[in-house]
Amino acid sequence: MSNREWPLWEVFIRSKQGLNHKHVGSLRAPDATLALENARDVYTRRSEGISIWVVESNYVHASDPSDADSLFEPSDTKVYRHPTFYDVPDGVKHM
C-alpha cells in the first residue's frame, strides 16, 4: 500500500497547429498516462488544444526571482539590439 500523494504535473497545451505549447496549469496524477488523460478532461473541455505535454513538476527548474536584476537587467541597457536604434536616410525602402 502506498501512502504517497500522486505527484504534481505541469500541463502545456498547443492550442492549434503552428503555435507553441503553452503552460496552462497543473494537476495531480499517478503517472504520465493518467496525467495526460486528466489534462484532457481538466484543460481541454472546449477545444482549447490539439496536443498536450505533461512534465512532472519536480523536473522544472526555475530562475530565482531575486536574481532577476542580475539576469535580465543587462539586456535593458543594450538598445542597439533593436532595429529602431539605427537611423537610415529617408527614402530607403524595404528595410
Partner: protein
C-alpha cells in the same frame, strides 16, 4: 543576494501591487498575504466541489436529454473549477490534501449557498441563474486579483461560467412560459433562493474585518456591498422578463442613487448556515468525506501500479 529587512521587503511588495504588477509564486510576499490567499482560494475551491452536490443530484432526473447533457457539462465544469483552484493554492505552498481535510473537519468554510437543498427541477434553473450569476459577479472582479495564478484561473473560470448562468435562465424561461404549475414552481424556487444568493457576497462591509487589507493588497477590488448591489441591479430586470416576483416588498428603484433599494439581510440566518446549522451542512460534508474514503483504494492502487511499472522500466 542583498539581505533586505522585512520593512523594506513589504514596502517593495506594496509598490509592485500598487503598480498593478502581478505577484507570482516564487516572489517574496508577506506571510499574511500568503495566508489570506490560501484561505480564500481553498475555500473557493471547496465551494466549486461542494457546489456539484445539489446539482449532481438532478442529473438522472433531468426532464429531457438536452437538459441532462447540459447539466452534466455544467457539473463537470465545476469539478474543473475546483481543480484549477486547488492547483493554484498549491503554488502558495499549501498542501492540497490538508486543505481538503480542513474542509472535512469543518475548519475551512465554503459558500453557504450550497447548504440549501435543490428540491425541485426549477431549483436547478434558479441555481444557474442566481447562484452562478452571483458567483460570476464575484469572479469577474477576481480576474484582476494581484496574485497571478489565482487571477489566471479566474479568467478561465469566468469564460466557462457564462454558459452556466445562461442555461439556467433559459430553463426558467421555459418553465415561466409553461403551465401555471410550472410557473409556480419557478416562483417558489425564486422565493427560496433569492436571499441566500444575496448572502453569497458575504457580510456587510461594516462587519467584514479583513476587507480593507484585502483591498490594499488588491486581492479584492470591490467591497461585498458594492458587488451585492451590482448583482441586484443586474438581476431585477431579468426577473421582470421572466415575470417572477422578487420576494422583497421593499425592493424598488432609487432614482437618486441610481440603484435598487432592498431590505436588510437576515444575517442571523447567514451566520447560522456558515457555522454549520444550515439545512444540508452535515449531508454535504458527509458526502465529501465518503468520496475521499471510498475513493482511497483507487488512488492507492493507481499509485502502486505506477510505481511497479516504473520499477520494471529501470530493472
Amino acid at each position: 543576494m542583498k539581505t533586505l529587512d522585512l520593512q523594506e521587503l513589504e514596502k517593495r511588495f506594496q509598490e509592485k501591487v500598487d503598480k498593478e504588477i502581478k505577484i507570482e509564486p516564487n516572489d517574496w510576499m508577506p506571510d499574511e498575504y500568503r495566508k489570506t490567499l490560501i484561505r480564500q482560494i481553498s475555500q473557493h475551491a471547496h465551494s466549486e466541489i461542494v457546489g456539484m452536490l445539489p446539482e449532481g443530484n438532478w442529473i438522472t432526473r433531468a426532464p429531457n436529454l438536452r437538459r441532462k447533457a447540459v447539466l452534466l457539462a455544467k457539473v463537470q465544469d465545476e469539478a474543473g473549477h475546483g481543480l484549477y483552484l486547488y492547483s493554484s493554492v498549491e503554488t502558495l505552498g499549501a498542501d492540497r490534501e490538508a486543505t481538503m481535510d480542513d474542509l472535512h473537519s469543518g475548519k475551512a468554510k465554503y459558500s453557504s449557498i450550497f447548504n440549501y437543498p435543490a428540491v425541485t427541477w426549477a431549483d436547478i434553473g434558479t441555481i444557474g441563474w442566481l447562484v452562478d450569476g452571483a458567483a460570476i459577479m464575484n469572479q469577474v472582479a477576481l480576474c484582476r486579483c494581484s496574485y497571478g495564478p489565482y487571477a489566471r484561473g479566474m479568467v478561465k473560470i469566468c469564460k466557462e461560467e457564462s454558459f452556466h448562468q445562461r442555461q439556467g435562465y433559459e430553463s426558467l424561461v421555459t418553465l415561466c412560459n409553461g403551465t401555471p404549475a410550472q410557473k409556480a414552481m419557478a416562483q417558489d424556487a425564486m422565493n427560496r433562493f433569492w436571499w441566500p444568493a444575496l448572502m453569497m457576497f458575504g457580510p456587510s462591509d461594516a462587519d467584514s474585518p479583513h476587507s480593507a487589507q484585502s483591498m490594499k493588497w488588491k486581492i479584492k477590488r470591490f467591497s461585498n456591498d458594492e458587488l451585492r448591489q451590482s448583482f441586484v441591479d443586474a438581476t431585477v430586470p431579468q426577473a421582470e422578463i421572466l415575470g417572477l416576483t422578487i420576494p422583497d416588498p421593499n425592493l424598488k428603484w432609487n432614482e437618486e442613487r441610481g440603484h435598487y433599494d432592498f431590505s436588510p439581510i437576515n444575517w442571523d440566518e447567514f451566520w447560522q448556515v456558515v457555522n454549520g446549522n444550515g439545512p444540508c451542512n452535515k449531508e454535504r460534508i458527509d458526502a465529501r468525506k465518503k468520496a475521499k474514503e471510498n475513493g482511497m483504494w483507487v488512488r492507492e492502487a493507481a499509485m502502486a501500479y505506477a510505481e511497479k511499472r516504473a520499477m520494471k522500466k529501470t530493472a
